[in-house]
């Protein structure tokens, strides 16, 4: 397929084309990201379960007494509960630090961040239409999206801004760093930041695991790939990029195939 044949807007597909598209898979997530996602999910489950049971003073508490007691008994005392919370939290921080240090070239540079959190005008329309569609208030089509839709971008923004403060305040409390006043505010920030992530997490989990239209996105977090039909319909702008890359690569390899005999000695000397 040459570059000019890639449509610039999502034209309706024929049944034949749709079937063809649904057979082909394209890579969405790297293995590192898939593993990191589920590690992150497990840590969050542990941290939320233990953390909410560690806030016990009357003015601070928000979980019912029976939950606090149940968690204490499950862990064998509140000290154990705290140990689990700190151990999981420190492991989490270390893993993400390693990821940041070794993976920043691949995952964390400006282009990737723009792709993950940069909202454009299509995204603003998408947010409005998406909300209305959720409650069946509009028949309007969703505007084409990049690799991540506007909702995912908003969630990423929330997470990227809250997670560093959760990590820093957590380390400050776990290792009794700084002084009393800082610790008091660290506790508050830790709680509020985690609360903000939870408010987004509810939508994230619903959209990923329950909402029917996004099921391929859920499976992509296991297999790393999505079918092209889903990519075409939900992430059209990203689908175009992938197609353009594939075409470019195909053209290159065809060129290379044509001049194979000439270039062969060069590649041998390189090897």
């Amino acid at each position: 397929m040459a570059t000019q044949t890639i449509p610039t807007y999502p034209v309706p597909l024929t049944a034949e084309e749709a079937r063809e598209f649904s057979q082909r898979h394209i890579k969405k997530h790297q293995v590192a990201i898939v593993l990191l996602h589920w590690f992150n999910a497990i840590v969050w489950a542990i941290e939320l379960a233990t953390g909410s049971a560690l806030i016990v003073a009357p003015g601070y508490r928000f979980m019912p007494i029976w939950y606090l007691e149940m968690m204490e008994h499950l862990a064998g005392g509140r000290a154990n509960l705290l140990r689990i919370h700190i151990a999981a939290g420190v492991a989490w921080t270390i893993v993400f630090l390693v990821y940041a240090v070794f993976g920043w070239r691949h995952y964390l540079h400006a282009e990737v961040l723009r792709k993950e959190v940069g909202l454009d005008s299509d995204d603003m329309v998408w947010l409005r239409v998406r909300l209305l569609k959720l409650v069946g208030r509009t028949k309007q089509e969703l505007p084409p999206q990049g690799a991540y839709n506007a909702g995912q971008k908003l969630y990423a923004l929330l997470v990227y801004s809250m997670v560093p403060s959760i990590m820093i305040t957590g380390l400050v409390m776990a290792f009794h760093l700084t002084g009393p006043v800082f610790l008091q505010w660290a506790m508050l920030l830790h709680f509020v930041a985690a609360g903000m992530v939870v408010s987004g997490l509810l939508v994230h989990v619903y959209m990923g695991a329950v909402f029917p239209e996004e099921h391929p996105a859920f499976y992509s977090m296991i297999t790393g790939t999505v079918d092209e039909l889903y990519a075409y319909r939900h992430h059209f702008k990203w689908w175009r990029e992938v197609k353009a890359e594939q075409t470019e690569w195909l053209e290159k390899t065809e060129d290379a195939a044509g001049t194979e005999e000439k270039s062969l000695p060069v590649s041998q000397t390189q090897a």
Partner: protein, 243 residues
């Protein structure tokens, strides 16, 4: 279950600091920290009607301790025998309890980053020993015992000899360290080292008044939003998408 109390006999205390030394060595109290203190209250009046006294202070193991409620992590707690203790494993060192104590009985152990204070030598009590300061006092000015037992010295001093609780009109938490002595001595000590005001730290106030509501609102809003979406999904029935 016993209910422990201590009586300081001001007639006997000469301010020798033996109790302070015993306490510091027993519990490895760092420099600058104190589980118990002996302070000179100075003098009042003119000779020959001149009074002077020492004020021995420590945790009062109050009946209604403000520090227990102030501790976010639940590290500060009260045993059934009335002794208020700190679980160092749970303590973050935030100092919310330090601000909540009207007696200044708590300090932050900067080496360990946790709060420490007198616990009536709970570890010694469990072994059937007296608190270190009581055992050390050369003048027997510190008397420790069970208020539930009418045969003890503290029972007599508290209920028959009228030992005094250091309380103010505003702050009456039922302290269980009592002071025995001439009224003018007790008054002088109370005037020189008045009972403070229990204070809730700003972050603690913000937590209850603002942060909790804010988080509840945010989480509640998204929960309600997706509940609406979910019921819409159930009501419209799922189609086979993208076919």
């Amino acid at each position: 279950m016993p209910r422990y109390a201590m009586v300081i006999d001001k007639e006997r205390c000469v301010g020798c600091q033996s109790c302070t030394v015993a306490c510091k060595s027993e519990w490895d109290v760092p420099e600058g920290g104190a589980r118990t203190r002996v302070r000179n209250a100075g003098t009042r009046g003119t000779y020959p009607k001149l009074v002077s006294t020492f004020y021995v202070s420590q945790c009062n193991h109050c009946d209604r301790p403000t520090c227990v409620a102030a501790c976010p992590s639940g590290a500060t707690y009260q045993d059934a025998n009335g002794v208020v203790r700190v679980n160092k494993e749970l303590c973050i060192g935030c100092g919310s309890c330090v601000a909540a104590c009207p007696y200044g009985a708590r300090y932050i152990d900067s080496d360990k980053g946790v709060v420490d204070k007198c616990d009536f030598c709970a570890a010694r009590l469990e072994q059937g020993l007296q608190p270190a300061c009581v055992l050390t006092c050369p003048a027997n000015a510190k008397i420790f015992g069970d208020l539930e037992n009418s045969n003890t010295d503290v029972f007599n001093m508290v209920y028959r000899e009228g030992a005094h609780r250091m309380e103010s009109r505003q702050v009456a938490l039922g302290p269980n360290v009592y002071y025995l002595g001439k009224p003018e001595h007790v008054e002088l000590a109370a005037a020189a080292f008045p009972v403070g005001q229990p204070h809730t730290v700003t972050a603690g106030r913000v937590w209850g008044a603002l942060a909790k509501k804010f988080v509840f609102l945010a989480v509640g809003a998204t929960f309600a939003g997706q509940a609406v979406a979910f019921f819409h999904q159930l009501a419209t029935a799922e189609k086979q998408f993208d076919e």
